[in-house]
Symmetry: C2
Subunit: 256 residues, 2 copies
Amino acid sequence: MKIVFIGAGNLATRLSLEMHRAGMHIGQVYSHTRQSAETLAKLLGCSWTVSTDDVVTDADLYVFSLKDAVLPDIISRIKPNAGLWVHTAGSVPMEIFKEYSRRYGVLYPLQTFSKKQEVSFDMIPFFIEANTPEDLAVLRKIARALSENVQLLSSEKRKVVHLSAVFACNFTNHMYALAAKLLEEHGISFNMLLPLIDETAAKVHTLSPREAQTGPAMRYDENVIRKHIDMLSDPDMKALYEFVSKSIHKEVSENE
Amino acid sequence: MKIVFIGAGNLATRLSLEMHRAGMHIGQVYSHTRQSAETLAKLLGCSWTVSTDDVVTDADLYVFSLKDAVLPDIISRIKPNAGLWVHTAGSVPMEIFKEYSRRYGVLYPLQTFSKKQEVSFDMIPFFIEANTPEDLAVLRKIARALSENVQLLSSEKRKVVHLSAVFACNFTNHMYALAAKLLEEHGISFNMLLPLIDETAAKVHTLSPREAQTGPAMRYDENVIRKHIDMLSDPDMKALYEFVSKSIHKEVSENE
Protein backbone atom coordinates (compact mmCIF):
# COMPACT_ATOMS: atom_id res chain seq x y z
CA MET A 1 0.00 0.00 0.00
CA LYS A 2 1.39 3.34 -1.10
CA ILE A 3 0.34 6.51 0.73
CA VAL A 4 0.56 10.18 -0.37
CA PHE A 5 0.31 13.01 2.13
CA ILE A 6 -1.28 16.23 0.87
CA GLY A 7 -0.10 18.69 3.51
CA ALA A 8 2.94 18.79 5.78
CA GLY A 9 1.70 20.69 8.82
CA ASN A 10 1.50 19.62 12.48
CA LEU A 11 -1.04 16.85 12.03
CA ALA A 12 0.39 15.59 8.72
CA THR A 13 3.87 15.48 10.22
CA ARG A 14 2.94 13.47 13.33
CA LEU A 15 0.48 11.16 11.52
CA SER A 16 2.76 10.35 8.58
CA LEU A 17 5.72 9.70 10.88
CA GLU A 18 3.58 7.36 13.00
CA MET A 19 2.36 5.51 9.88
CA HIS A 20 5.97 5.24 8.73
CA ARG A 21 6.97 3.85 12.11
CA ALA A 22 4.12 1.33 11.91
CA GLY A 23 5.63 0.05 8.65
CA MET A 24 3.34 1.79 6.16
CA HIS A 25 4.84 3.13 2.97
CA ILE A 26 4.57 6.90 2.43
CA GLY A 27 5.49 7.49 -1.21
CA GLN A 28 5.19 11.27 -1.57
CA VAL A 29 4.52 14.49 0.32
CA TYR A 30 2.87 17.54 -1.20
CA SER A 31 2.94 20.95 0.43
CA HIS A 32 2.41 24.44 -0.88
CA THR A 33 5.43 25.41 1.25
CA ARG A 34 8.68 24.03 -0.13
CA GLN A 35 10.46 23.86 3.19
CA SER A 36 7.64 21.96 4.89
CA ALA A 37 7.43 19.45 2.02
CA GLU A 38 11.17 18.90 1.95
CA THR A 39 11.58 18.60 5.73
CA LEU A 40 8.82 16.03 6.11
CA ALA A 41 9.85 14.03 3.00
CA LYS A 42 13.38 13.80 4.38
CA LEU A 43 12.10 12.38 7.66
CA LEU A 44 9.97 9.88 5.75
CA GLY A 45 12.62 9.05 3.13
CA CYS A 46 10.24 9.79 0.25
CA SER A 47 9.80 12.24 -2.64
CA TRP A 48 8.07 15.59 -2.35
CA THR A 49 6.46 18.26 -4.54
CA VAL A 50 5.02 21.76 -4.25
CA SER A 51 2.86 21.33 -7.35
CA THR A 52 -0.52 19.58 -7.28
CA ASP A 53 0.14 18.61 -10.94
CA ASP A 54 3.03 16.45 -9.82
CA VAL A 55 1.13 14.47 -7.21
CA VAL A 56 1.43 10.82 -8.30
CA THR A 57 -1.73 9.02 -9.40
CA ASP A 58 -0.76 5.44 -8.52
CA ALA A 59 -1.08 5.61 -4.71
CA ASP A 60 -3.62 3.57 -2.75
CA LEU A 61 -4.38 6.23 -0.14
CA TYR A 62 -4.33 10.04 -0.28
CA VAL A 63 -4.35 11.78 3.09
CA PHE A 64 -5.46 15.42 2.80
CA SER A 65 -4.29 17.22 5.90
CA LEU A 66 -4.76 20.93 5.24
CA LYS A 67 -6.37 24.02 6.70
CA ASP A 68 -10.14 23.67 6.10
CA ALA A 69 -10.26 26.84 4.02
CA VAL A 70 -7.90 25.50 1.33
CA LEU A 71 -9.21 21.91 1.24
CA PRO A 72 -11.82 22.40 -1.55
CA ASP A 73 -9.34 24.08 -3.88
CA ILE A 74 -6.55 21.54 -3.40
CA ILE A 75 -8.92 18.56 -3.69
CA SER A 76 -10.17 19.92 -7.02
CA ARG A 77 -6.61 20.18 -8.31
CA ILE A 78 -5.48 16.60 -7.62
CA LYS A 79 -5.67 14.44 -10.78
CA PRO A 80 -8.45 11.87 -10.66
CA ASN A 81 -7.22 8.40 -9.72
CA ALA A 82 -8.36 5.08 -8.27
CA GLY A 83 -7.02 5.66 -4.73
CA LEU A 84 -8.95 6.18 -1.51
CA TRP A 85 -9.08 9.89 -0.61
CA VAL A 86 -9.42 10.87 3.03
CA HIS A 87 -9.09 14.04 5.05
CA THR A 88 -8.19 14.49 8.71
CA ALA A 89 -10.41 17.49 9.53
CA GLY A 90 -12.89 17.66 12.38
CA SER A 91 -15.41 19.99 10.81
CA VAL A 92 -15.44 19.04 7.12
CA PRO A 93 -18.08 16.59 5.88
CA MET A 94 -16.86 13.49 4.05
CA GLU A 95 -18.93 14.53 1.03
CA ILE A 96 -16.42 17.24 0.15
CA PHE A 97 -14.73 14.55 -2.00
CA LYS A 98 -17.89 13.44 -3.78
CA GLU A 99 -17.34 15.20 -7.10
CA TYR A 100 -13.66 14.35 -7.31
CA SER A 101 -13.17 10.72 -6.29
CA ARG A 102 -15.16 7.51 -6.37
CA ARG A 103 -13.62 6.36 -3.10
CA TYR A 104 -13.44 8.64 -0.09
CA GLY A 105 -13.59 8.90 3.66
CA VAL A 106 -12.31 10.54 6.84
CA LEU A 107 -9.51 9.61 9.25
CA TYR A 108 -9.78 12.04 12.19
CA PRO A 109 -7.40 11.62 15.12
CA LEU A 110 -8.63 13.54 18.18
CA GLN A 111 -5.37 14.99 19.44
CA THR A 112 -3.27 18.17 19.44
CA PHE A 113 -0.18 17.85 17.29
CA SER A 114 2.91 20.01 17.05
CA LYS A 115 5.72 19.27 14.62
CA LYS A 116 8.34 19.30 17.34
CA GLN A 117 6.42 17.28 19.93
CA GLU A 118 6.27 13.46 19.77
CA VAL A 119 3.04 11.98 21.05
CA SER A 120 1.99 8.43 21.85
CA PHE A 121 -0.73 7.25 19.43
CA ASP A 122 -1.98 4.14 21.34
CA MET A 123 -4.87 5.84 23.09
CA ILE A 124 -5.77 8.53 20.54
CA PRO A 125 -9.41 8.17 19.44
CA PHE A 126 -9.53 7.78 15.65
CA PHE A 127 -12.92 8.64 14.17
CA ILE A 128 -13.40 7.10 10.75
CA GLU A 129 -15.97 7.27 7.99
CA ALA A 130 -16.03 6.06 4.36
CA ASN A 131 -18.49 5.99 1.48
CA THR A 132 -18.38 2.19 1.14
CA PRO A 133 -18.14 -0.63 3.71
CA GLU A 134 -15.01 -1.91 1.91
CA ASP A 135 -13.15 1.37 2.34
CA LEU A 136 -14.39 1.70 5.91
CA ALA A 137 -12.69 -1.66 6.54
CA VAL A 138 -9.49 -0.34 4.91
CA LEU A 139 -9.50 2.73 7.16
CA ARG A 140 -10.33 0.66 10.24
CA LYS A 141 -7.30 -1.55 9.55
CA ILE A 142 -4.99 1.45 9.11
CA ALA A 143 -6.28 3.22 12.21
CA ARG A 144 -6.06 0.05 14.32
CA ALA A 145 -2.43 -0.29 13.38
CA LEU A 146 -1.92 3.13 15.04
CA SER A 147 -4.37 3.17 17.96
CA GLU A 148 -6.50 0.94 20.18
CA ASN A 149 -9.41 3.37 20.02
CA VAL A 150 -11.02 3.41 16.55
CA GLN A 151 -14.66 4.34 16.05
CA LEU A 152 -17.06 4.97 13.22
CA LEU A 153 -18.55 8.46 13.57
CA SER A 154 -20.79 10.49 11.26
CA SER A 155 -19.66 13.85 9.86
CA GLU A 156 -22.37 15.53 11.96
CA LYS A 157 -21.13 14.06 15.26
CA ARG A 158 -17.48 14.58 14.30
CA LYS A 159 -18.22 18.33 14.10
CA VAL A 160 -19.43 18.28 17.71
CA VAL A 161 -16.35 16.36 18.84
CA HIS A 162 -14.13 18.91 17.10
CA LEU A 163 -15.95 21.85 18.69
CA SER A 164 -15.65 20.28 22.15
CA ALA A 165 -11.94 19.71 21.49
CA VAL A 166 -11.46 23.43 20.82
CA PHE A 167 -12.72 24.10 24.35
CA ALA A 168 -10.86 21.22 26.03
CA CYS A 169 -7.56 21.79 24.24
CA ASN A 170 -7.12 25.07 22.36
CA PHE A 171 -8.96 27.25 24.87
CA THR A 172 -7.37 25.37 27.77
CA ASN A 173 -3.92 25.96 26.34
CA HIS A 174 -4.76 29.64 26.00
CA MET A 175 -5.62 29.75 29.71
CA TYR A 176 -2.12 28.33 30.32
CA ALA A 177 -0.70 31.04 28.03
CA LEU A 178 -2.45 33.82 29.94
CA ALA A 179 -1.23 32.37 33.25
CA ALA A 180 2.31 32.22 31.83
CA LYS A 181 2.07 35.84 30.73
CA LEU A 182 1.03 36.99 34.20
CA LEU A 183 3.83 35.07 35.91
CA GLU A 184 6.41 36.30 33.38
CA GLU A 185 5.48 39.91 34.08
CA HIS A 186 6.36 39.29 37.74
CA GLY A 187 9.45 37.18 37.16
CA ILE A 188 7.90 33.95 38.46
CA SER A 189 8.60 30.66 36.67
CA PHE A 190 5.71 29.06 34.76
CA ASN A 191 7.00 25.65 35.92
CA MET A 192 5.46 26.41 39.32
CA LEU A 193 2.06 25.75 37.74
CA LEU A 194 2.86 22.33 36.26
CA PRO A 195 1.73 20.20 39.24
CA LEU A 196 -1.54 22.18 39.30
CA ILE A 197 -2.04 21.83 35.54
CA ASP A 198 -1.38 18.09 35.73
CA GLU A 199 -3.76 17.60 38.64
CA THR A 200 -6.48 19.65 36.93
CA ALA A 201 -6.25 17.27 33.95
CA ALA A 202 -5.96 14.16 36.17
CA LYS A 203 -9.03 15.07 38.23
CA VAL A 204 -11.45 14.77 35.30
CA HIS A 205 -10.44 11.14 34.85
CA THR A 206 -12.38 10.33 38.03
CA LEU A 207 -14.66 13.32 38.69
CA SER A 208 -16.86 15.07 36.14
CA PRO A 209 -15.58 18.59 35.34
CA ARG A 210 -18.58 19.94 37.21
CA GLU A 211 -17.64 18.02 40.36
CA ALA A 212 -13.97 18.96 39.92
CA GLN A 213 -14.60 22.72 39.71
CA THR A 214 -12.95 24.79 42.45
CA GLY A 215 -11.89 28.41 42.86
CA PRO A 216 -13.33 31.85 43.61
CA ALA A 217 -15.95 31.86 40.83
CA MET A 218 -17.25 28.45 41.96
CA ARG A 219 -17.48 29.62 45.60
CA TYR A 220 -18.78 32.97 44.36
CA ASP A 221 -16.07 34.62 46.45
CA GLU A 222 -16.76 38.17 45.21
CA ASN A 223 -14.00 39.47 47.39
CA VAL A 224 -11.34 37.55 45.45
CA ILE A 225 -13.00 38.04 42.08
CA ARG A 226 -12.99 41.81 42.55
CA LYS A 227 -9.34 41.84 43.70
CA HIS A 228 -8.28 39.72 40.73
CA ILE A 229 -10.03 41.93 38.20
CA ASP A 230 -8.38 44.98 39.79
CA MET A 231 -4.95 43.33 39.53
CA LEU A 232 -5.19 42.69 35.78
CA SER A 233 -3.81 45.59 33.77
CA ASP A 234 -4.77 44.31 30.30
CA PRO A 235 -8.44 45.29 29.63
CA ASP A 236 -8.98 42.15 27.51
CA MET A 237 -7.76 39.90 30.32
CA LYS A 238 -9.99 41.79 32.76
CA ALA A 239 -12.99 41.19 30.51
CA LEU A 240 -12.07 37.55 29.99
CA TYR A 241 -11.69 36.98 33.74
CA GLU A 242 -15.11 38.46 34.37
CA PHE A 243 -16.74 36.63 31.49
CA VAL A 244 -15.40 33.18 32.39
CA SER A 245 -16.17 33.70 36.09
CA LYS A 246 -19.78 34.51 35.24
CA SER A 247 -19.96 31.46 33.02
CA ILE A 248 -18.63 29.24 35.84
CA HIS A 249 -21.11 30.71 38.28
CA LYS A 250 -23.94 30.18 35.83
CA GLU A 251 -23.07 26.49 35.34
CA VAL A 252 -22.81 25.96 39.08
CA SER A 253 -26.16 27.68 39.79
CA GLU A 254 -27.93 25.72 37.05
CA ASN A 255 -26.74 22.43 38.47
CA GLU A 256 -27.42 23.02 42.12
CA MET B 1 3.24 19.83 68.19
CA LYS B 2 -0.53 20.15 68.31
CA ILE B 3 -2.40 21.55 65.31
CA VAL B 4 -5.92 23.01 65.06
CA PHE B 5 -7.71 23.34 61.74
CA ILE B 6 -10.10 26.28 61.42
CA GLY B 7 -12.15 25.19 58.40
CA ALA B 8 -13.05 21.78 56.98
CA GLY B 9 -13.46 22.48 53.26
CA ASN B 10 -11.60 20.99 50.29
CA LEU B 11 -8.17 22.39 51.09
CA ALA B 12 -8.48 21.88 54.87
CA THR B 13 -9.56 18.28 54.31
CA ARG B 14 -6.70 17.30 52.01
CA LEU B 15 -4.02 19.27 53.89
CA SER B 16 -5.00 18.03 57.36
CA LEU B 17 -5.20 14.43 56.16
CA GLU B 18 -1.75 14.73 54.58
CA MET B 19 -0.32 16.24 57.79
CA HIS B 20 -1.93 13.41 59.75
CA ARG B 21 -0.39 10.86 57.37
CA ALA B 22 3.01 12.54 57.81
CA GLY B 23 2.70 11.91 61.56
CA MET B 24 1.64 15.38 62.69
CA HIS B 25 -0.93 15.65 65.46
CA ILE B 26 -4.19 17.39 64.59
CA GLY B 27 -5.95 18.08 67.89
CA GLN B 28 -9.19 19.78 66.81
CA VAL B 29 -11.25 20.83 63.82
CA TYR B 30 -13.54 23.85 63.76
CA SER B 31 -16.14 24.39 61.08
CA HIS B 32 -19.26 26.52 60.94
CA THR B 33 -20.94 23.47 59.34
CA ARG B 34 -21.47 20.66 61.81
CA GLN B 35 -21.35 17.88 59.24
CA SER B 36 -18.05 19.10 57.75
CA ALA B 37 -16.45 19.42 61.18
CA GLU B 38 -17.64 15.99 62.28
CA THR B 39 -16.68 14.20 59.05
CA LEU B 40 -13.15 15.58 58.98
CA ALA B 41 -12.58 15.09 62.74
CA LYS B 42 -13.62 11.45 62.36
CA LEU B 43 -11.05 10.92 59.59
CA LEU B 44 -8.39 12.57 61.74
CA GLY B 45 -9.43 10.89 64.97
CA CYS B 46 -9.68 14.23 66.81
CA SER B 47 -12.27 16.45 68.46
CA TRP B 48 -14.39 19.04 66.65
CA THR B 49 -16.48 22.12 67.35
CA VAL B 50 -18.84 24.49 65.54
CA SER B 51 -18.23 27.29 68.02
CA THR B 52 -15.20 29.59 67.82
CA ASP B 53 -15.49 29.97 71.62
CA ASP B 54 -14.62 26.30 72.01
CA VAL B 55 -11.47 26.39 69.91
CA VAL B 56 -8.68 25.22 72.25
CA THR B 57 -5.99 27.73 73.19
CA ASP B 58 -3.12 25.34 73.86
CA ALA B 59 -2.23 24.37 70.26
CA ASP B 60 1.12 25.18 68.61
CA LEU B 61 -0.28 25.84 65.14
CA TYR B 62 -3.65 27.18 63.96
CA VAL B 63 -4.37 26.64 60.26
CA PHE B 64 -7.13 28.97 59.01
CA SER B 65 -8.49 27.49 55.81
CA LEU B 66 -11.65 29.42 54.99
CA LYS B 67 -13.29 31.39 52.23
CA ASP B 68 -11.48 34.76 52.04
CA ALA B 69 -14.65 36.68 52.81
CA VAL B 70 -15.13 35.10 56.25
CA LEU B 71 -11.45 35.03 57.29
CA PRO B 72 -11.38 38.44 59.07
CA ASP B 73 -14.45 37.68 61.16
CA ILE B 74 -13.36 34.19 62.25
CA ILE B 75 -9.81 35.33 63.00
CA SER B 76 -11.19 38.05 65.28
CA ARG B 77 -13.30 35.49 67.15
CA ILE B 78 -10.52 33.01 68.04
CA LYS B 79 -9.28 33.52 71.62
CA PRO B 80 -5.80 35.03 71.82
CA ASN B 81 -3.13 32.40 72.45
CA ALA B 82 0.59 31.74 72.05
CA GLY B 83 0.33 29.54 68.92
CA LEU B 84 1.45 30.28 65.37
CA TRP B 85 -1.51 31.38 63.24
CA VAL B 86 -1.36 30.74 59.48
CA HIS B 87 -3.82 30.86 56.62
CA THR B 88 -3.76 28.96 53.33
CA ALA B 89 -5.19 31.62 51.03
CA GLY B 90 -3.60 32.86 47.81
CA SER B 91 -4.87 36.42 47.87
CA VAL B 92 -4.88 37.40 51.55
CA PRO B 93 -1.87 39.26 52.96
CA MET B 94 -0.14 37.78 55.99
CA GLU B 95 -0.82 41.00 57.89
CA ILE B 96 -4.48 40.05 58.30
CA PHE B 97 -3.39 38.39 61.58
CA LYS B 98 -1.44 41.37 62.87
CA GLU B 99 -3.98 42.65 65.40
CA TYR B 100 -4.90 39.23 66.71
CA SER B 101 -1.74 37.21 67.19
CA ARG B 102 1.91 37.84 67.95
CA ARG B 103 3.00 34.96 65.72
CA TYR B 104 1.61 34.55 62.21
CA GLY B 105 2.32 33.46 58.66
CA VAL B 106 1.07 31.80 55.48
CA LEU B 107 1.19 28.22 54.25
CA TYR B 108 -0.13 28.27 50.69
CA PRO B 109 -0.15 25.03 48.70
CA LEU B 110 -0.57 25.71 44.97
CA GLN B 111 -2.96 22.93 44.05
CA THR B 112 -6.64 22.21 43.39
CA PHE B 113 -8.23 20.17 46.16
CA SER B 114 -11.52 18.32 46.33
CA LYS B 115 -12.66 16.47 49.42
CA LYS B 116 -13.22 13.26 47.51
CA GLN B 117 -10.03 13.30 45.45
CA GLU B 118 -6.70 12.16 46.88
CA VAL B 119 -3.69 14.00 45.52
CA SER B 120 0.02 13.41 45.81
CA PHE B 121 1.70 16.19 47.82
CA ASP B 122 5.39 15.52 46.89
CA MET B 123 5.56 18.01 44.04
CA ILE B 124 3.06 20.64 45.22
CA PRO B 125 4.72 24.06 45.53
CA PHE B 126 4.26 25.36 49.09
CA PHE B 127 4.67 29.12 49.37
CA ILE B 128 5.43 30.19 52.93
CA GLU B 129 5.77 33.45 54.79
CA ALA B 130 6.02 34.35 58.49
CA ASN B 131 6.50 37.48 60.62
CA THR B 132 9.68 36.15 62.26
CA PRO B 133 12.62 34.06 60.99
CA GLU B 134 11.93 31.52 63.76
CA ASP B 135 8.37 30.90 62.64
CA LEU B 136 9.44 30.85 59.00
CA ALA B 137 11.73 27.99 59.99
CA VAL B 138 8.83 26.22 61.71
CA LEU B 139 6.68 26.54 58.60
CA ARG B 140 9.54 25.43 56.35
CA LYS B 141 9.98 22.28 58.41
CA ILE B 142 6.26 21.48 58.28
CA ALA B 143 6.00 22.15 54.54
CA ARG B 144 9.14 20.12 53.79
CA ALA B 145 7.62 17.15 55.57
CA LEU B 146 4.82 17.32 52.99
CA SER B 147 6.51 18.44 49.77
CA GLU B 148 9.88 18.74 48.05
CA ASN B 149 9.01 22.18 46.72
CA VAL B 150 8.91 24.80 49.49
CA GLN B 151 9.58 28.47 48.79
CA LEU B 152 9.44 31.76 50.61
CA LEU B 153 7.16 34.14 48.72
CA SER B 154 5.85 37.61 49.61
CA SER B 155 2.12 38.30 49.96
CA GLU B 156 2.36 40.51 46.84
CA LYS B 157 3.81 37.76 44.63
CA ARG B 158 1.53 35.12 46.13
CA LYS B 159 -1.43 37.14 44.83
CA VAL B 160 -0.02 36.91 41.30
CA VAL B 161 0.55 33.16 41.63
CA HIS B 162 -3.04 32.74 42.81
CA LEU B 163 -4.42 34.79 39.94
CA SER B 164 -2.40 32.79 37.41
CA ALA B 165 -3.70 29.59 39.04
CA VAL B 166 -7.28 30.69 38.46
CA PHE B 167 -6.50 30.81 34.73
CA ALA B 168 -4.45 27.60 34.64
CA CYS B 169 -6.79 25.54 36.80
CA ASN B 170 -10.27 26.96 37.46
CA PHE B 171 -10.78 28.45 34.00
CA THR B 172 -9.19 25.39 32.38
CA ASN B 173 -11.55 23.10 34.26
CA HIS B 174 -14.45 25.24 33.10
CA MET B 175 -13.33 24.72 29.49
CA TYR B 176 -13.50 20.97 30.21
CA ALA B 177 -16.99 21.48 31.68
CA LEU B 178 -18.22 23.32 28.57
CA ALA B 179 -16.75 20.58 26.35
CA ALA B 180 -18.49 17.95 28.49
CA LYS B 181 -21.78 19.80 28.18
CA LEU B 182 -21.54 19.90 24.38
CA LEU B 183 -20.73 16.20 24.12
CA GLU B 184 -23.51 15.26 26.58
CA GLU B 185 -26.07 17.09 24.47
CA HIS B 186 -25.10 14.82 21.57
CA GLY B 187 -24.76 11.59 23.53
CA ILE B 188 -20.98 11.36 23.12
CA SER B 189 -18.83 10.24 26.06
CA PHE B 190 -16.59 12.86 27.69
CA ASN B 191 -13.94 10.14 28.11
CA MET B 192 -13.15 10.55 24.42
CA LEU B 193 -11.43 13.82 25.31
CA LEU B 194 -9.14 12.47 28.04
CA PRO B 195 -6.12 11.65 25.81
CA LEU B 196 -6.40 15.17 24.34
CA ILE B 197 -6.72 16.80 27.77
CA ASP B 198 -3.72 14.85 29.05
CA GLU B 199 -1.57 15.72 26.03
CA THR B 200 -2.55 19.41 26.25
CA ALA B 201 -1.25 19.42 29.85
CA ALA B 202 1.81 17.31 28.98
CA LYS B 203 2.85 19.58 26.10
CA VAL B 204 3.50 22.60 28.32
CA HIS B 205 6.12 20.60 30.23
CA THR B 206 8.40 20.89 27.19
CA LEU B 207 6.96 23.69 25.02
CA SER B 208 5.84 27.11 26.25
CA PRO B 209 2.03 27.49 26.03
CA ARG B 210 2.58 29.92 23.17
CA GLU B 211 4.54 27.31 21.19
CA ALA B 212 2.02 24.62 22.10
CA GLN B 213 -1.01 26.56 20.83
CA THR B 214 -2.92 24.88 17.99
CA GLY B 215 -6.45 25.08 16.57
CA PRO B 216 -8.65 27.27 14.38
CA ALA B 217 -8.13 30.54 16.30
CA MET B 218 -4.34 30.08 16.15
CA ARG B 219 -4.42 29.39 12.39
CA TYR B 220 -7.07 32.12 12.07
CA ASP B 221 -9.23 29.63 10.18
CA GLU B 222 -12.28 31.90 9.92
CA ASN B 223 -14.14 29.17 8.11
CA VAL B 224 -14.06 26.87 11.14
CA ILE B 225 -14.52 29.70 13.66
CA ARG B 226 -17.71 30.82 11.91
CA LYS B 227 -19.07 27.25 11.71
CA HIS B 228 -18.36 26.65 15.39
CA ILE B 229 -20.08 29.84 16.51
CA ASP B 230 -23.09 28.89 14.38
CA MET B 231 -23.21 25.43 15.96
CA LEU B 232 -23.40 26.74 19.52
CA SER B 233 -26.99 27.27 20.66
CA ASP B 234 -26.24 28.87 24.04
CA PRO B 235 -25.63 32.63 23.49
CA ASP B 236 -23.13 32.75 26.38
CA MET B 237 -21.08 29.92 24.89
CA LYS B 238 -21.17 31.66 21.50
CA ALA B 239 -19.86 34.84 23.07
CA LEU B 240 -17.21 32.96 25.04
CA TYR B 241 -16.03 31.12 21.92
CA GLU B 242 -15.68 34.39 20.04
CA PHE B 243 -14.02 36.17 22.94
CA VAL B 244 -11.41 33.48 23.64
CA SER B 245 -10.69 33.03 19.91
CA LYS B 246 -9.99 36.75 19.58
CA SER B 247 -7.75 36.62 22.64
CA ILE B 248 -5.77 33.70 21.15
CA HIS B 249 -5.41 35.49 17.85
CA LYS B 250 -4.27 38.65 19.62
CA GLU B 251 -1.57 36.76 21.57
CA VAL B 252 -0.36 35.04 18.41
CA SER B 253 -0.22 38.29 16.41
CA GLU B 254 1.63 40.11 19.18
CA ASN B 255 4.28 37.43 19.31
CA GLU B 256 4.88 36.91 15.60
